[in-house]
């Protein structure tokens, strides 16, 4: 059987609209049968903390404000959906977590593991990589 197409998305931006774009592509790709690996790093990683999601402490631009106002399912909803329908994984960046003092348990359960770049590259072998 040929390898399934793979997509890896590196999420850098904490902006809700960019997290949304990344999660939307990730979930659609996963539900279309691709293996998808999302690497949340730098400023984006903080947005995957439970406390941030609970307080809805999002970084908003115009589109982000409308996503919230119109009650559109947000990035964590999209990622959860993609995980239910396909092969989608979310990883946190070990460097960003260490520098900021964030523990694995600080993150939503969507974040499967906190890993380094080498491990992420291993998972991304043969994948297209997008950076957002």
């Amino acid at each position: 059987m040929p390898d399934r197409p793979k997509l890896s998305i590196v999420v850098l931006s904490p902006q809700l609209s960019k997290l949304h774009a990344a999660s939307l592509m990730a979930s659609v790709a996963a539900s279309a049968g691709m293996e998808v690996n999302v690497f949340a790093t730098m400023e984006a990683l903080g947005q995957f903390r439970r406390s941030v999601i609970e307080r809805r402490d999002f970084v908003l631009d115009d589109v982000g404000r409308e996503l919230v106002a119109k009650k559109v399912p947000l990035f964590y909803d999209l990622l959860r959906q993609g995980r239910e329908l396909g092969d989608l994984h979310v990883y946190g960046c070990a460097l960003a977590a260490d520098v900021m003092g964030w523990k694995p348990e600080d993150f939503t359960d969507l974040v499967e593991d906190v890993i380094g770049v080498t491990a992420f590259f291993g998972k991304s072998e043969g994948a297209q990589i997008l950076t957002i």
């Binding site: 279309a32 119109k70 399912p73 999209l78 959906q81 329908l85």
Partner: protein, 94 residues
């Protein structure tokens, strides 16, 4: 009125209206990619041969959903515009 038989895998809006869906998925009011996700969820849970009709008010889905149906190897039966929403018929083929 004479209606041509739809070619397998091709949209035929005339013939499509004659196919009776087994399941209707009402995703009106849902934003992209909500309707697509709901359709995928339903199709996964149904046996091969099931005809599903998706209702969507999201413009993007009227283009995206047929694209997904083709890629996933199912049969797109019809895409009908009904004022404020679309009705998309698909037969699960595998």
């Amino acid at each position: 009125m004479a209606i041509d038989k739809a070619t397998a895998g091709q949209a035929d809006s005339l013939n499509g209206a004659q196919v009776k869906p087994d399941r209707v998925v009402d995703a009106r009011g849902s934003f992209c990619p909500g309707p697509l996700m709901e359709l995928i969820k339903t199709i996964k849970a149904q046996p091969v041969g099931t005809v599903v009709e998706l209702w969507s008010s999201d413009r993007g889905s009227s283009k995206d959903v047929p694209e997904w149906i083709k890629k996933a190897g199912h049969d797109l039966l019809y895409v009908l515009e009904e004022g404020d929403h679309w009705r998309i018929g698909v037969r699960k083929a595998r």
